[in-house]
């Protein structure tokens, strides 16, 4: 009961409501614009959060996350281009349905299923995060090391693209985290005499580079692309018939999305694809999928928004991000001096339940904005790239510079932008780099401290039941794609 009251706190704070309002609005705009999204937007807005108190800052980031994930559906349905990768599966049925003159119905279903998925996942978050945090009290250094390895292997296994390429990207991310002074011995590593590198490479230049700048380069290759926007009169709430047809799909996808979100992987993108394929598998009319099935839209949208709450579970309870956007939120927590993990649940419940409540409200807010304003948001896509991207570059440069007031950070951002472009071009996902970078210190620190505890005996890792379980799960995660490809060949 006390926790429920804490969750209601944002409703009674005009400041938090204002932050939620702007966060949701900004998140929707980011979600609608193809190439941008909650990860890039969160990273760009991070410097501004320094002017806010920690709760307002994280509320802003989480509302961007929730609304941005939904916003991708608007462009997916109206112009057949997912605003965010998580909305890719929504294109498959959303656009064909819109072409049949039912854009309002498609958007209505996307809005309702996203809201239900989002709220469902917040409920999961409220119940699961404290349980996971309690479990984390049993974790020592070896368990955290094994958990981080499990997170990275899961990311490689179920993330987008080739698992081996994802592993390379993850290892590269961890390697970046080793640049600078070694935190245990203060010995310089990979600094090559550049003093600014002694502090290591910041998270923001890498994220903004890999997402915003690399996307700018990608857009430079797509200048001849012409978007055909389907006309939209108004968003329509689903009919009773549509509800009857889709309620099971929405609930199933909400469950799938929340579960996938909890796993340290690519959150919404993977969740929506699985939610969509499961909706097709259970449908009485699977032949309609790909031709404008309302169940297809519900399956994909409920799942990708459900992943938002799920991904916050390991982020808050263990300090291990469930997706690229939660990695940005984790950075926001660290910048504001909040250390995620079990102690946070014991020491600052008002902070945590404030975030949970804010996420719940953000899901309701984007429903209202989406329902009444989808037509206006869709017009944002009309801003030409030749004007939009130079402006995004300006904000990226100033945002990156502002955190440490270092011009080197800006150059690092550009370097990672170019690198990110080529990585994506040759099938290397950039998300593992981000997760690797943020988990790098944890992986190395826990490994080295574990070895001190074990007196250098590596085999002692396997004498700890929780660590052993995570290693077995990591092995299964790595073996899964191999088994899947063999099964597909048969």
């Amino acid at each position: 009961m006390e926790n429920l009251l804490l969750m209601m706190a944002p409703l009674f704070s005009s400041k938090l409501l204002l932050v939620l309002f702007f966060g949701t609005l900004f998140g929707l705009i980011l979600g609608v614009l193809p190439g941008l999204g909650p990860t890039t937007g969160g990273a760009l807005i991070l410097p501004f959060t320094m002017t806010l108190d920690p709760l307002s800052a994280i509320v802003l980031l989480t509302s961007i996350y929730c609304a941005g994930t939904y916003g991708g559906a608007i462009t997916a349905i109206l112009i057949n281009t997912p605003g965010t990768p998580a909305a890719a599966a929504t294109c498959l049925d959303g656009y064909p349905l819109a072409q049949k003159g039912e854009a309002g119905r498609a958007l209505g279903m996307a809005t309702v299923s996203s809201t239900v998925g989002g709220i469902f996942s917040v409920i999961i978050l409220v119940f699961f995060a404290p349980l996971l945090a309690k479990l984390a009290y049993e974790f020592g250094q070896p368990e955290y090391f094994a958990l981080a390895i499990f997170g990275l292997t899961m990311l490689a296994s179920i993330g987008e693209g080739s698992p081996i390429k994802n592993l390379i990207a993850g290892a590269f991310g961890i390697l970046i985290s080793t640049i600078g002074k070694d935190f245990m011995t203060s010995i310089d590593r990979f600094t090559y005499g550049i003093n600014e590198l002694s502090e290591g490479i910041g998270f923001i230049p890498v994220v903004v580079g890999l997402f915003a700048i690399s996307e700018m380069l990608t857009q430079s290759t797509l200048l001849d692309q012409i978007f055909k926007r389907v006309a939209l009169k108004a968003v329509k709430l689903p009919s009773l018939k549509d509800y009857k047809l889709t309620w099971k799909t929405i609930l199933r996808s909400s469950g799938i999305g929340s579960f996938i979100g909890v796993l340290p992987a690519e959150g919404g993108t993977v969740a929506s694809l699985i939610g969509y394929s499961e909706a097709k598998r259970f449908s009485k009319k699977p032949e309609e999928f790909g031709k404008g099935s309302i169940e297809g839209i519900a399956g994909a949208e409920a799942a990708n928004n459900a992943a938002t709450g799920g991904a916050m579970v390991p982020t808050l309870a263990l300090g291990i991000p469930g997706s690229a956007t939660t990695a940005v939120i984790l950075t926001g927590l660290i910048i504001h001096g909040v250390r995620p993990g079990p102690d946070l649940f014991r020491e600052q419940p008002e902070f945590l339940y404030g975030i949970f409540g804010a996420m719940l409200i953000a899901n309701v807010l984007f429903f209202i904005f989406g329902f009444f304003g989808a037509k206006i948001f869709a017009r944002i896509t009309l801003v030409p790239n030749k004007i939009l991207w130079p402006m995004i570059f300006t904000v990226s440069v100033c945002g990156t510079y502002s955190l440490s007031q270092s011009i080197l950070d800006v150059w690092i951002m550009i370097f990672f932008g170019v690198l990110g472009f080529f990585m994506r071009r040759y099938g290397f996902s950039v998300v593992p780099v981000i997760i690797g970078l943020i988990l790098g210190e944890l992986v190395e620190g826990t490994l080295r401290q574990s070895l001190v505890i074990f007196d250098g005996n590596w085999l002692m890792f396997f004498t700890r039941p929780i660590a052993l379980t995570f290693f077995i799960l990591s092995f299964i995660a790595l073996a899964f794609p191999l088994l899947r490809s063999k099964k597909n060949k048969k």
């Binding site: 410097p47 501004f48 320094m50 002017t51 080739s162 081996i164 390429k165 592993l167 390379i168 290892a171 590269f172 961890i174 390697l175 080793t178 070694d182 245990m184 011995t185 010995i187 310089d188 590593r189 990979f190 090559y192 700018m216 380069l217 430079s220 290759t221 200048l223 030409p384 790239n385 030749k386 004007i387 991207w389 130079p390 402006m391 570059f393 300006t394 904000v395 440069v397 100033c398 510079y401 502002s402 007031q405 011009i407 800006v410 150059w411 550009i414 932008g417 170019v418 071009r425 040759y426 099938g427 190395e444 490994l447 080295r448 401290q449 574990s450 070895l451 001190v452 250098g456």
Partner: protein, 169 residues
Amino acid sequence: MNNVRKQKRANKSLPFFFKDEFKVSFVIIFISTILLISTFSFDIVPPILNRGIQPATFPKALLVLIISLTLIVYFLSTKKPWKTEKKLPKPFYLTLISFLLFILISKTLDFFLAISVLSVFVSYYWGERRFFYLLLVSIIFPIIVFIFFETILGLRFPPGIITNIYYQV
């Protein structure tokens, strides 16, 4: 469809060192090897101060892992070649050049000027010809962003020929 087939056939007939799979794997392994060699020059902690492993051990292990995995990726690509990518268009190279220009100008002349030059360059080569919009992306918008960052975050931008004038005013 025919074009894709032709391109695939053309890619198959290329010598191995011209193929994307080889070029990408080679670059990763080459850079990783250089980094691996550089780890041998890291300072060594005396045994009495050393806790666990040496500072160079972890990066070494990561680099060996990256090299090994890249070899596996290359080996697999010989059985299942990668999708052939389209040639990059002219605006891509111009955008890349504008990044270099940005770095050069921000280092030698001025941070604000560098942003303006990049914005006008990119916007123009991406097809914008209207004077007002070029002015908007290169001057008006950066000024708004600068003032916003300065007043809200109390940020001080690096000195340069234009920024110095602004701070003197």
